[in-house]
Symmetry: C2
Subunit: 456 residues, 2 copies
């Protein structure tokens, strides 16, 4: 029976990950997990599909519009999760009796948003979230900063800033100006400052929140405060000290900054930026964004903050928490742009050409012996001309090729080609005595790469 050919294609806003991107992507995911674990965060997973009433009305109007939803075979209204925070809230409310507080969890998961696609934005992407639930402790606020710092450092990002603010300072600022009742529209405007600039933000504040130009200017002057935390904290203290919210916010931020530095964050990486508002309906304390110094226009790649009431929609219990989300696929796009994704398409370092067809089982045995000693080995699938196999190995980025032809098998030796430096040596080899070859392979792979190889 002939079937018609279906054109192979992916949906708009969705992408395939080819090996050259997927290899570093998997590494980033594993480095994220390792970082979270090093602080004692523990993993959970939740279904991609949830009852629609769990998801809808939980984010913004925008996330509601972007929700992928449908009716399933059983007639249930269901949706694909658009973040990992709503599922966390549902999870905690549902399993509250099986969870020990404080609950430090991490969650790597795919989320879906049917948003308009722009450069670097996809409708399906992986988020890496970590949160500490069930405590007001400032220590958890500090850990938020420490984890972000360790995470990006581990991933190998060198130039980045962690921009910090406090929701309490913003409240105090508005309160001091007699504008507390207009906090929601004003902070929504403020959130756009980075995108649309000061002039337009002021105009929007005047028109959307019915305040005077002078009031808008006062807000923007204070929220202009950005820079080294100790300097900005003093400025703020002088400007809005005396307001109780603001003073609590200033004192708490001071503890967060001091603790972060004690915990190893370089002080010049921390910036206090009073203009950061972030999803205001939700956050109540410290808020944070992470900016790549070489790609500031990309926006924050790791954002979060403290909130008062995670699970309010699902239970009467009030649970405070603090956490952040790394936009992993956004970071991948950034690293692609910065040329920091290597073009290697191999996960093995050793390549064995298969060219003496009669020795197939001996090649298999050699490969398995090396694997037993922790070395990743690819044995070529077909017996072909050596030169074409070596070209394949070179293009894919292997480090070492172990060459054993009829002559070598008979003589009990092997040629080792160092593919990065284009040199070769001969070793003895037999299945019973593999140690000389093991030692030689390791010493080639452990050799510090030349500058050129390192850049590639």
């Amino acid at each position: 029976m002939e079937r018609a050919i279906v054109k192979p294609r992916t949906l708009k806003g969705f992408r395939d990950y080819l090996p050259e991107i997927m290899i570093p992507r998997e590494r980033l995911m594993e480095q994220s997990r390792e970082t979270f674990r090093s602080f004692g965060f523990i993993p959970i997973d939740t279904p991609s599909l949830e009852y629609l009433d769990i998801l809808s009305g939980k984010g913004s109007d925008e996330t509601d519009k972007q929700l992928y939803h449908f009716t399933d075979h059983g007639g249930r209204a269901v949706g694909l999760r658009f973040d990992l925070t709503v599922p966390l809230a549902r999870f905690v409310a549902q399993h509250i009796n099986n969870i020990k507080m404080p609950f430090k969890r991490y969650h790597l998961g795919t989320v879906w948003r049917g948003e308009n696609t722009q450069a670097g934005r996809y409708r399906e992407f992986v988020q890496c979230d970590f949160d500490t639930i069930g405590t007001d402790s400032v220590l958890s606020d500090i850990e938020l900063i420490l984890v972000i710092n360790s995470l990006l450092t581990k991933i190998g990002v060198k130039r980045f800033s962690i921009r910090i603010n406090s929701r309490q300072i913003l409240s105090g600022l508005l309160d001091a100006l007699g504008l507390a009742c207009k906090a929601v529209p004003l902070l929504r405007c403020l959130d756009k400052l980075g995108k649309i600039g000061r002039q337009k933000t002021a105009e929007e504040m005047v028109s959307h929140a019915s305040i005077s130009a002078a009031q808008a200017d006062a807000i923007l002057s204070l929220s202009d405060c950005t820079g080294r935390p100790e300097v900005v904290l003093t400025e703020l203290s002088n400007a809005i000290g005396g307001n109780r919210d603001a003073e609590l916010g200033i004192d708490r931020l001071d503890q967060v900054i001091t603790g972060s530095i004690a915990g190893g964050v370089p002080s010049d990486r921390l910036i206090l930026d009073v203009s950061i508002a972030r999803g205001l309906d939700y956050y109540t304390g410290v808020v944070v964004e992470t900016i790549l110094d070489d790609l500031p226009g990309l926006g924050s790649i790791c954002s979060g903050g403290r909130y008062d009431n995670l699970t309010g929609v699902f239970t009467d219990q009030h649970l405070p928490g603090v956490g952040a989300s790394l936009g992993l696929d956004r970071l991948i796009v950034a690293l692609e742009k910065l040329g920091e994704i290597s073009a290697s398409t191999t996960t093995a370092s050793v390549f064995i050409p298969f060219f003496d067809a009669s020795r197939r089982n001996d090649y298999l045995r050699l490969a398995m012996i090396l694997r037993t000693y922790g070395i990743n080995v690819e044995l070529y699938s077909e017996s072909r001309k050596l030169s074409s196999q070596l070209r394949h190995a070179d293009e894919r980025g292997f480090g070492v090729a172990i060459i054993l032809g009829e002559r070598e098998w008979d003589a009990g030796c092997a040629q080792l080609k160092d593919l990065k430096r284009n040199t070769a040596i001969t070793c003895r080899y037999s299945h019973q005595e593999p140690f000389e070859i093991l030692h030689a392979v390791r010493s080639i792979l452990d050799k510090p790469p030349s500058v050129a190889a390192y850049k590639a």
Copy 2:
């Protein structure tokens, strides 16, 4: 604004993974990746959502019925993938010019099937697939067996069997009986042998394929052949040798078995079982199932085989391949049943109680110093009574607690509690000289566990 409380709940057939299951689940996924990489397989990822015409009509009638599908915001008919093979075929056809053949890829991904839920079956589950595309080489057939063996061994499964058959042998068998034209219905019946037994299978063969009872008996007698490969191969050779398909199949299986043993598979783990038919429309060569010896009723947890034409639906190019799929979440259910999932709910081995509130920054610094040396450390979030913090640490399964109160900070020392053995020692500690504590922590963690601790 008060919102109504939404009852927190998950959809039927979907499950949350709590930390005590998610910790081993993440370990299994990482062990799978490490195994695939050790053979040089490279990772890809594809979207969860595909155009519906990519997915529908590609599996069986059953998978079509089980497909989660809907119309998206742009009016496109879309579906959630039900396996990773159809996306692989689409991927290879679409990126054929950017892929080097032979293409050895692995893919860990979530798939969805709206099937009736039974014990141990979910509507959302993770599959771990590996395939070698673009070669007919028997070496890749052998690697199929080697990877399955390494994978389960790495995961820690000790008692399992790899059951092998060949589609060519089945074709030859039917051909020899003059029943080649009835292969499809007959092998569909044969596939049920394990579930419904010999008597019923014979009856179905007679009624569904209009053959005689004697013919049904002849098929079932041969497909009864199961056991040590060298014995069964001889039996088969005597019974249906002379038929060209069967002889090719017998010869190839002989090479696969010999190669697998050369590559390190214990020979008593390999069973030749002529009744294995597996998704017959698709497979053309070797087929394989993996059975846990302690839970044979669970069915195969890792299955696959060789096929001729992966991408036929998407391109005119014919690409052969061989691969298998580990049902990871099914294996998790099995390990839960066998009591092989440990109840630990920590990813860190060291616990630091936080009980001298004035020393918060010193605790943060101590924790970060230990992390720098590769030790996972959880610092408790709140300063509470020591005894309640230690009880928490004990319940969660930490190995070591490092106790530093006011007296210890002043004296420049720390108490180390070995939580598994309930012993304690005192070490010197200062941020500048952390080596004594590092050494002591490592020697406690590296100590072989007692038999009781090992079982827990």
